[in-house]
Symmetry: C2
Subunit: 269 residues, 2 copies
């Protein structure tokens, strides 16, 4: 999917919600367990309930990998089930030397047909470039992550006063363009979102950390958006495991709608 | 496997060779292609040919993942085929927030029964700790990697003159012990191996970069070893894709023996 298509989808839907399919067999409601592939049935229900309200789905690969070969089948079936209109992200956080990074890129882009993959920057240029060789695909580089451990190394500071996360974003932005590169920037660091926005005014940011991790939407958007909105805000646990007065699917749909409703105000169509 | 067992294996065999099963279907010799699972047959042949000469096998997960569900089956079968006496490493370079890192740890330690997993440090403490909760298992943290891109961020320098790779090694060493934590330190940086050895005198180092990547064994060992030897030196492409006057398996065995022979001189039994 091109940047323009993504922006159009966001403005048409007035939503920049990415639903995270961190589908944990131990957390999915009991009614799905009677199916042959409980995780797939759960994902189907979540996708049916949310596709109107979101523009993207992010699949956390760890949750599928831990099921062995069957998990990869579930991953493939889930990807096929997601409508083409939705931007798909493999949250894999891969990062390895060139020949290995090429294999990972092939897996996620050619074999599984994801639009984007998250990539860890620690190993540098040759761990990122192989992903950028795939036309029409995206690399989403970890910038400033949403977790407590982000404080350990991402704030490591140079003699010139630059934090590692700033160095990563500035340098990596030069390897691709705003048409094929995004950055992960956690909602748990709202003030740094404004700093990142200045470093990369054109790039999309993938913003995790809303909901279970404690970030809030208003702060993330006011600090992080650009003229094209420029944000995909992810919510996983807060949406997909909802329960309510009705069915699981109804509760999920209601929560996705609520988040989308809050988003509408920020997207002037 | 405990540190003591690993050290004993090294001194008994007078080898600290780790053979990397980066088994690429496009590079494996044609005779394996007639089998139902060519990569597994290739791996079996390589394991049969090298197990006498090495103490460890490292499986690069990207090369299995790119085959889809069948690749995971090959991975499982290969792991089962490796003798229990050999230290097994999942070269996965995972790194994610706590709940996700727990899933990865479960996959590689409980489901696949690896002894160790390589982990990327960028996301900090909660991306590493879940791996350390598994008794008898190891985390191998990326310190200074062997690839050209290691120059991009690993040499990012603090106001106090400390490189990021030094900060990563020092801080991460404090999260575990020399009994459950190793560091990746590339043979392509022999002088830095000496620096790393001073930072973590007790820890094992996993040393890639010999062979195809240009590092050499003598420099790596003289700069990187400690009293227990303290090194696992990996070789992948240089061993597994050998051809020679005899069969593929004979060429692989001969090359592994050569490397082991060079190693013997460093291990006083």
């Amino acid at each position: 999917m091109t940047r323009q298509q993504l922006v159009e989808n966001i403005f048409e839907k007035r939503s920049f919600l990415c639903v995270g399919l961190d589908s944990d067999p131990q957390l999915i409601p009991s009614q799905y367990h009677s199916f042959n592939d409980p995780v797939f049935e759960f994902n189907k229900a979540v996708i049916d309930a949310t596709q109107e309200h979101c523009v993207s789905y992010k699949l956390n690969i760890a949750f599928y990998e831990c099921l062995g070969p069957a998990g990869w089948v579930t991953l493939e079936k889930t990807l096929e089930y997601i409508p083409e209109s939705h931007f798909t992200i493999a949250d894999a956080k891969r990062g390895d030397i060139g020949n290995t990074a090429s294999k990972y890129a092939k897996t996620f882009f050619e074999y599984l047909h994801f639009d984007a993959v998250t990539v860890a920057p620690y190993m540098g240029r040759d761990s990122v470039l192989p992903f950028l060789e795939h036309t029409g695909k995206w690399v989403i580089v970890l910038g400033l992550t949403s977790n407590p451990g982000s404080a350990d190394f991402q704030y490591f500071r140079s003699a010139e006063g630059r934090f590692l996360y700033e160095e990563v974003i500035l340098k990596t932005a030069g390897w691709g363009t705003a048409e094929n590169t995004m950055f992960v920037a956690g909602a748990t660091h709202p003030e740094e979102l404004a700093i990142i926005r200045k470093l990369v005014p054109e790039h999309f940011l993938l913003v995790p950390g809303i909901g279970a991790q404690g970030g809030n939407l208003y702060d993330a958007v006011t600090h992080g958006r650009n003229n094209d909105l420029g944000l995909l805000v992810n919510s996983s646990r807060d949406i997909i495991y909802r329960s309510g007065p009705g069915t699981h699917a109804q509760a999920v749909a209601a929560r996705a709608w609520e988040v989308k409703y809050e988003m509408e105000g920020f997207v002037k169509s």
